[in-house]
């Protein structure tokens, strides 16, 4: 065992929220794609719809529970996502240095970031807004489709499809970059902790402004 200095980046309740998000959103994305493209026979499509509904229920319960139990973390998350500075413009102008690194094995200067980099912020905004719309419209489409005017239900169906496809498109990018940043991946999936020196290089503003020694 090494004695590396560690920071608790993702507390247990955040990790539990994320575990439930994984086991609900992955099947939701797959069944959502199947429901959109309808590649199977009717019986199988019905089964896929049932899985979609059950996992949608898990996702909404997860989100509602985290919203109620960890409301202050939701506020903090929103603050981080929607705090935009010139650094974000600079980050997007070099796309975080990832294409240069992957394609040309070249390291370009990247502006200092907080807990989340600008790409993660954009993803977070989409998850926050899109997720809320998906949960809301999903419940209406399943539970109350006949209580509202047909045009309104059709509009909600279009919204559900649009944001479902958008977040599903984001998913492979999120998974790839999540695994690529392996220390962060381990922190979110396993221990919650990240080495101090890694955090200093990936999230220097977070370490400088928000991280404090344990009393």
């Amino acid at each position: 065992m090494h004695n590396e200095t560690m920071i608790l980046k993702h507390p247990l309740r955040v990790r539990i929220f994320h575990y439930l998000l994984i086991i609900s959103f992955l099947p939701l994305a797959l069944t959502g794609l199947a429901l959109y493209f309808k590649p199977f026979a009717e019986d199988n499509m019905n089964l896929i719809m049932q899985i979609h509904i059950v996992t949608g229920g898990i996702l909404s319960l997860d989100a509602a529970a985290f919203f109620l139990i960890g409301f202050e973390r939701v506020i903090l998350f929103i603050k981080r996502m929607f705090t935009i500075s010139i650094n974000d413009v600079k980050w997007f102008s070099v796309l975080g240095g990832y294409p240069q690194k992957f394609l040309f094995k070249k390291k370009v200067p990247v502006p200092p970031m907080g807990k989340y980099n600008s790409g993660q912020k954009l993803f977070g905004m989409c998850v926050l807004i899109g997720g809320a719309i998906l949960i809301g419209t999903g419940w209406i489409l399943w539970a109350f489709p006949h209580n509202l005017p047909r045009a309104a239900v059709a509009f909600m169906g279009s919204l559900h499809t649009f944001f479902g496809l958008l977040l599903t498109l984001f998913l492979p990018v999120h998974l790839f970059l999540g695994v690529y940043m392996f220390d962060d991946f381990k922190a979110m999936i396993l221990s919650g902790k990240i080495p101090y020196h890694d955090a200093q290089s990936t999230s220097p503003l977070w370490v400088e402004r928000e991280v404090m020694p344990l009393k």
């Binding site: 200095t5 560690m6 920071i7 608790l8 980046k9 507390p11 247990l12 409301f71 202050e72 939701v74 506020i75 903090l76 929103i78 603050k79 807990k115 809320a132 809301g136 209406i140 109350f144 209580n147 509202l148 005017p149 309104a152 221990s191 919650g192 902790k193 101090y196 977070w206 402004r209 928000e210 991280v211 404090m212 020694p213 344990l214």
Partner: protein, 106 residues
């Protein structure tokens, strides 16, 4: 479970009171607005039907002739041509038969 294995943590609540109230207020408002909109949609769903019903009752109240047997034109038809109500000629001319026309639609 997590204790003694890390030496640093993030500030537990890095949001000022003003930011908390502002962000919290916006979040609650953004969650409440769609609920109000959906409630309005649900309650106004039958507005057209209710307006039509109201209009029909209003027309009925305004009408001079409100039942068919008091209609002079109908009375004249029976007197000059149809004989008596539910008679053979009237039944043949005025009554219709049920035909299922939904088969051709699907």
């Amino acid at each position: 479970m997590e204790n003694n294995e890390y030496q640093y943590t993030e500030s537990p609540f890095n949001v000022s009171r003003r930011q908390f109230i502002t962000i919290g207020g916006i979040v609650v408002a953004l969650l409440a607005l769609p609920v109000v909109w959906v409630k309005y949609l649900a309650t106004s769903r039958n507005d057209y039907i209710l307006a039509r019903t109201k209009g029909l009752y209003r027309d009925d109240e305004k009408a001079k002739i409100r039942v068919s047997h008091a209609n002079p034109a109908v009375a004249q038809y029976y007197k000059d041509f149809g004989g008596k109500p539910l008679g053979g000629l009237s039944e043949e001319l005025l009554h219709t038969k049920y035909i299922n026309r939904t088969k051709g639609l699907s």
